[in-house]
Symmetry: C2
Subunit: 382 residues, 2 copies
DNA sequence: ACAATTATTTCCGCGGCAGAAGTAATAATT
DNA sequence: AATTATTACTTCTGCCGCGGAAATAATTGT
C-alpha cells in the first residue's frame, strides 16, 4: 500500500509503539509508558525525545498526584499534527469529515449521490475529497465506510444499499485523488472508533450494537476487533428475537431487522395509529404514553435486551456500546431493555455496563476516519 | 510462582518462542518458523541449535513436498522430554493422568473422594499425586481442574459441586506435594487443551461447548482464551433455549441446563416411558426410534442447535468443538441440531464447522494437564 | 535542612538481531 | 548429464537498540 511508505515515526519500531501508547492512552508519563511497554526508563528518554522534536508529541503541564517524588511530565499527542478524511457512503448520500489524529471532527460536508453507478460514486467521492482538502490540505489519508462486505484490498465485495458487487473502490478513488485510501465496513469502522477514541477506549473486551437502517454488531476481544468473511453482512440482523414478531422482508419472523430498525418501528407505529410518523415522533409518542407506540417500542426494547443478554453471555464484554441513529430507543425503552436482559441473563452474572453514543450522523464518518488513522499509524490495514 | 523459576528454555526469549512454535505447530521447518516469527534464517539456526542439544527438539526425517530446492529438515518437540500431571476433581471422585509435553495421556488413575472437606480432598490429591509420581517421577507440574470459579492465585472462590468457598487449594496441594501446581476451571482447561493440542489447534478463533452434568462454554479469540470473573459459573447453563421447555432446579423454563444436560435428558425419558434409564440407553432408544426418547432428544438437539447458532452469530468462530460426556447427543440428534442452527442463523452466513471430541472421561484430566503445561511453557498462568 | 521517593537523563556495554556470503540439496531445463 | 533455478540452512560480521548503573531533578514528608 502507498499508505505504508509514510511511516509516522522515524527510528526504531519501539518509537512507533511509544507514539501509539500516547495516542491511545495519553496524556501519559514516560515512566508509565515504560512500565506498559516493558522498556527501561532510559529507553523511554531515547525514544520520546525525537518524537517531541518532530512535533508529534508534546509535554503537557506537570502532574502532581500528591505522591512523593519528582512529578511526572506527561506526554500527549499533538492532535492537529496530522489530519485525516473520513466518509460515510450510503445508497443516497455521501458525507465527509476532516478529523485530527484523535478523530475529533473539525469539519463536515454532505451531499446527495447523483447515481449509484460505481464511476459516478467515485467521482462524487473525489469531488468531496477536493472540498475537504481545501479545509485540510495536509490530510494524510482517507477512510471510506459503507455497509457491505469489503475485501482486504479495498474492493467492495457486496453492498446491498448500492447494489454493488466486486467494485474496486479503493483503487478507483486513489487513482482520482492521489490520497492514500482505505475502505472498510461501516460497523467495523464504528467499532474501531469506539475502541481507540470512544466508549471502548482502554478496554480490551467490548461489544458494539448499532441501531438505524439496520442492526449492526461489532466485537473487540483482547484489544483487537473480531471479524471474519461474513463480517459486514449483518449477521445479527436476522436473528429471531421474538417468535411472534412481525415479518421482515427476508421472511424471518421477529428477527432483529423486523423489530429493532428504525423503519420497522416507524411502520409498526404508523400502521398502528393510522397515520405516518417518523422515528423521532414514534419515540415521542411512546414517551408520552401512547399505547400503540409504547407497545411497539417496548417490544423492540425487550428484543434489544435479549440481544444484549446473548452478547454478554457469549462474549463476556466489559461493556456494550450502543450507537447509531436509532440509539434513542435505548433511552425510551430502558425498562423493557433491562427486562429483556433479565430474561436471558443468569442472575448471578455481573451487571452489563451499557453505554450509549450521541447517535449523531457524523459517528459513521468519524469511524471511517479512524480506519485511515489506524492504517497510517500501524502501517497496516486493520 | 514456583513454576516460573524453572524456565524450559535457556538463552534469549526468542528461543522460548521458537520452542513454543514447534510445540504448537510442529513438525515445522526452521525456515517456516523464521517466517512465522519474523526472524532471519540465521537467527533460527542460532536459536534452534541449543534447543536440539538440550534434547528438547529433534530433527524429524526430511520432508520433500515436490517443490524445487533443498528439502527442509522439520523440527519437532521430543514429547517425552517432560511429563505433567492432570487431575479432574468432581464432587464424588478424583481422576488423575500422566501426560507428555503434548498432553498425550500416558497413564490414568481414578479414585472415589472420601469426603468433600477441603483438607480431605487435598489429602486425596496428594495421595493420587504420589501414585502418579511412581509412574512419572520426573513430572514437572500438576494441573487441577474443577467446576467453579477459581482466582488467579489458585484459590477456589466457589465450587457448587464441592460446596466450597474460598478454599486455597493450590497452596494446600503445594504444601503437601512439593510440586508446582495450578488450579483452573474445568471448562477453561478443556478449552485450552483443544486450543493447543485438540480440534482447535492452529485456529485463532473457536468456541467450545461441553455437555454432561452441566453445559459448559469456552471461547478463544485472537488465539487466546476469553474469560472474565464470571467464567466458571456456567453462564450459558441457564440460558433459555425453549420457552416451553421443562423447568430447571433454579426455576428457569427451558434453559440449557434443563434441556441439554445428561440428567435432564435421562429424567425426561425416564418419566416419559415410565422406567428408569441411563443416558446411554436414552440415546439408544432415540436411535431405535422410540417416540418419547426421540422427542426428548430432538428437543435437546434443537436447543443445542440454537445455542450453536447464537455462538456462531456473535463470536464468529472458525469452528465449534463439542465435547464432554454427553457429546453423543450431537450424533444422535444431528438433524435436530442442524434444524436449530438453520432456525437462528442467517442463511447467507457460512456453514458452521462442527467437530466433536471422543467424549471420554479423560478429556477433563487432559485439560488440567494442559494448564500445567501452559504455565510451565509460558512461564505464567493463563 | 535532610531523607525518602519518584521521574528523567546520560552513558556504557553487549546481547542478539539482520544481512551477506557461503554451502547444501533438491527439481526443472537443456 | 550438465546447467540453472530454487529453497534450506549455516557461518560470520557489524551494529542497532536495549538494559542497567549512576547522575540529576523535583517533589513530599519529617
Amino acid at each position: 500500500m502507498t499508505i505504508e511508505s509514510a511511516t509516522w515515526t522515524a527510528g526504531p519500531a519501539a518509537a512507533r509503539d511509544v507514539a501509539l501508547e500516547v495516542l491511545l492512552h495519553g496524556p501519559i508519563s514516560r515512566s508509565e509508558i515504560a512500565r506498559r511497554l516493558k522498556l527501561s526508563a532510559g529507553s523511554l528518554t531515547r525514544l520520546s525525545t525525537p518524537l517531541i522534536e518532530d512535533g508529534l508529541l508534546v509535554e503537557t503541564g506537570e502532574y502532581q498526584d500528591g505522591r512523593a517524588g519528582r512529578p511526572s511530565r506527561p506526554l500527549d499527542i499533538k492532535p492537529d499534527s496530522r489530519h485525516f478524511l473520513g466518509m460515510k457512503l450510503t445508497g443516497e448520500s455521501l458525507q465527509g469529515v476532516v478529523t485530527d489524529l484523535r478523530a475529533t471532527v473539525l469539519h463536515s460536508i454532505s451531499q446527495a449521490l447523483p447515481s449509484r453507478a460505481p464511476d459516478d460514486v467515485a467521482d462524487a467521492i473525489a469531488a468531496l475529497v477536493s472540498e475537504l482538502l481545501e479545509v485540510a490540505p495536509d490530510a494524510t489519508a482517507l477512510g471510506i465506510g459503507l455497509g457491505g462486505r469489503i475485501a482486504e484490498d479495498g474492493t467492495v465485495r457486496s453492498a446491498p444499499f448500492l447494489d454493488w458487487a466486486d467494485v474496486p473502490l479503493r483503487h478507483m478513488v486513489e487513482s482520482r485523488c492521489n490520497l492514500p485510501t482505505v475502505v472498510q465496513n461501516d460497523v467495523i469502522a464504528f467499532t474501531e472508533a469506539e475502541h481507540w477514541f470512544g466508549a471502548g477506549r482502554g478496554l480490551e473486551r467490548f461489544a458494539v450494537v448499532t441501531l438505524g437502517a439496520g442492526a449492526g454488531y461489532g466485537l473487540v476481544e483482547h484489544d483487537a476487533i473480531v471479524s471474519n468473511d461474513d463480517a459486514g453482512i449483518g449477521l445479527v440482523g436476522h436473528w429471531p428475537l421474538d417468535p411472534l414478531g412481525p415479518l421482515c422482508p427476508a421472511g424471518h419472523r421477529g428477527c432483529a431487522h423486523s423489530v429493532l430498525t428504525q423503519s420497522a418501528i416507524v411502520s409498526a407505529v404508523s400502521s398502528g395509529i393510522g397515520r405516518e410518523v417518523d422515528y423521532a415522533e414514534a419515540m415521542s409518542l411512546a414517551e408520552a404514553g401512547d399505547p400503540v407506540a409504547r407497545r411497539v417500542v417496548d417490544d423492540a426494547g425487550l428484543g434489544l435486551g435479549r440481544l444484549l443478554a446473548a452478547i454478554a453471555n457469549l462474549t463476556m464484554p466489559q461493556r456494550i456500546v450502543l450507537g447509531g441513529e436509532g440509539v434513542q430507543l435505548f433511552d425510551v425503552a430502558a425498562d423493557a431493555v433491562h427486562a429483556g436482559i433479565r430474561r436471558d441473563r443468569d442472575p448471578r452474572a455481573a451487571d452489563i455496563d451499557l453505554v450509549t453514543t450521541p447517535g449523531d450522523d457524523l459517528e459513521w464518518c468519524r469511524g471511517a476516519a479512524v480506519i485511515a488513522i489506524q492504517t497510517y499509524v500501524l502501517g497496516t490495514a486493520v
